[in-house]
Symmetry: C2
Subunit: 386 residues, 2 copies
């Protein structure tokens, strides 16, 4: 299996981008990554996108986008696993290079969510749940995660304030990310007093509806060293993917995100790494409870200790294991198909030492964890700089 | 790059399967392939599906289906490139094994198209065209292919009778395929006298709306030899994928399916094969003109000779290069995401000598060509038996 490196990154400023179309924001992120990599052709393109069919009435997405970039002819694929679609795009690009099928791959994620009204967006996002067993009965994602939060609180004593601490930390980090959708400080009181969405989750426990795109250029490690002599090479050393039941009703235990644990175990095994080797981590904080559960499933903390950890500042920048330095989905925004790729953009930025005000000093090993639905799928990638 | 073999195949009887859901037909095909392979666990699952979001209100499909099979936990991905989604699922499974990321992969394709009414199905299929430049103006796929047919007739003198000959041949082949949706003989007169859909294409020049699922089990060639000692090993020796502009307006030449030519060239190069090495071929005959153009783009005949070839019987079973022995999309049916996988099921059946009444004698090298939209994407796989 050939070694795979990241040689370029790009993303757009996440937000409500009403004046731009899906193809436009995608091309902006792609061109930024190609410019950063210093290449103008690629062998293959991967596109992570959850539901361009429901959000903008467009499938056949990878061909459309390859053409938009002036690259019609190149091989190009779209991958979908709800909000983990971006993570799958990374894994698919990784596999093409590892197999020797391609040498340079443009890996992208995109979602244009604000071209439909709120109810249609909620319907589209709801298709990440089991339509026949969950969606049909009227539940949407805040309700599903609220149930996970209630189980976690009941089982481990996780508190409302610990949930809120996730939002406070991530908004503090996002203040220093120029590409974040919501660059605003929020206090514990702000979170606790925000409109209730699904008890115990309030508005500031929830990630927003976002338009956005992000991109990476991957290459074989040899090619990376040839194209960028003298630059530190950031390699993807571990790639893990796992599924779980997408309906909560089928799970034996709601206090654990099993897909995250399995994907993490697979990525750690491939990379020959363990949680204590990590210097910086991005996890999928679509809701505040998700970050707490993801940090536990990845082995950063024992089960039940994720809440106390964030409250004590262990996952803040400057703490022993900074989590979501980018601001996370909470502050940076959550264009669902783009999220997994944007997480990797942040980790690469940290490993290159280019993260500015939110830089984690001496970061050499990072991890990005992306998740679909209420934990029905997850990808984990481990990245390391030489 | 490791060698990849097909060790099991399965599919459901294609048709209007109103009494069954997407997950049910998918599981039936998957279980059939696993039983044929003699395995009950896999390392990875790929799912080709164009638009479960628009057809059945369900994304996050690969996790849902892994769970349906009792395999929640396994890594699983969905791939989309409109009607070429099945071909992408094959390529993605191939890449995982070639890279050494997996040893046994369940490759599947599925589409449940009859749970929405005809207008909604036409809208969903229309998302394979460029929504902003084609769909918005009201054109749907019969119209797009009718334009390709008119250009081909004008450039090369392709005749109405040659188009009709495709339908006559494929229905004759489908009569002998127990899984085909429309097992009925059609005559030249039937095709010529059928309701006009988009001049020059009539109803019998068009593939139908279909529910269906198909599956393959892939394994490394070593594992294939170990699991099935004494059985002939069918290997995938070439895998090519290419895009083209999805809007016809952006193409320099409408008389050629460039994505098919490029995907074919890539697959031939990987396999070290040329068109004259092939014994049996499945092409993407979503409309009669598509088969003629695909056989030319794959180099089976020179440009402009695809029409005369089918009229002369060169592509019939018993002719020098049998095309669409399964009945093709025309007779077998076209559940869009399943089609690419079902084509490979047919080729494996031929190479194993298990195709019954439609067996091509001595077939040892076969090719399957799958296509998205009006040629905006294509995959080509070459399969060989030892």
């Amino acid at each position: 299996m050939r070694e795979v490196a990241v040689i370029g990154t790009g993303m757009v400023h996440f937000g409500e981008l009403w004046e731009k179309s899906l193809r436009t924001i995608w091309a902006e992120a792609a061109v930024a990554a190609l410019e950063d990599a210093g290449v103008d052709t690629v062998d293959h393109i991967t596109v992570g996108c959850m539901s361009s069919g429901l959000f903008v009435g467009q499938e056949h997405l990878a061909s459309l986008l390859a053409d938009e970039l002036g690259m019609a002819g190149v091989s190009a694929v779209r991958l979908e696993s709800a909000c983990a679609s971006g993570g799958l795009a990374i894994r698919a690009g990784f596999a093409e290079i590892a197999a020797g099928l391609a040498d340079v791959v443009l890996v992208t994620g995109v979602e244009k969510m604000t071209d439909v009204d709120g109810a249609d967006a909620t319907y589209a996002l709801g298709t990440a749940a089991d339509h026949e067993w969950e969606g049909f009965h009227g539940i949407t994602f805040p309700g599903l995660y609220a149930m996970l939060a209630r189980v976690h609180m009941s089982r481990f004593g996780t508190t409302r304030n610990q949930l809120a601490a996730v939002a406070v930390k991530n908004h503090a980090n996002g203040l220093n990310n120029p590409n974040a959708q919501y660059r605003m400080k929020v206090t514990l009181e702000d979170v606790l007093n925000a409109t209730l969405v699904a008890d115990p989750l309030g508005l500031l426990d929830c990630s927003p509806i976002t338009d956005g795109a992000a991109a990476l250029v991957l290459a074989s490690a040899e090619t990376a060293r040839r194209l960028k002599p003298g630059h530190p090479v950031v390699r993807i050393t571990g790639s893990g993917m796992a599924t779980d039941t997408i309906t909560l009703a089928n799970r034996p235990d709601l206090a654990e995100l099993r897909a995250v644990r399995l994907a993490g175990e697979r990525a750690y095994a491939m990379a020959g790494r363990k949680p204590s080797d990590l210097h910086v981590v991005e996890v999928h904080d679509c809701f505040s409870i998700a970050e707490i559960m993801a940090t536990e499933a990845l082995g950063l903390f024992p089960p039940g200790q994720g809440g106390p950890a964030v409250e004590k500042g262990l996952t803040a920048i400057g703490g022993p294991i900074p989590v979501n330095t980018s601001g996370g989905l909470k502050s940076k925004g959550h264009p669902v198909g783009a999220t997994g790729v944007a997480q990797a953009v942040e980790i690469v930025s940290q490993l290159r030492g280019e993260a500015g005000e939110r830089q984690v000093k001496g970061a050499r090993v990072g991890l990005a964890q992306n998740m679909g639905g209420s934990g029905g799928s997850s990808t984990v990638h481990i990245l390391e700089v030489e």
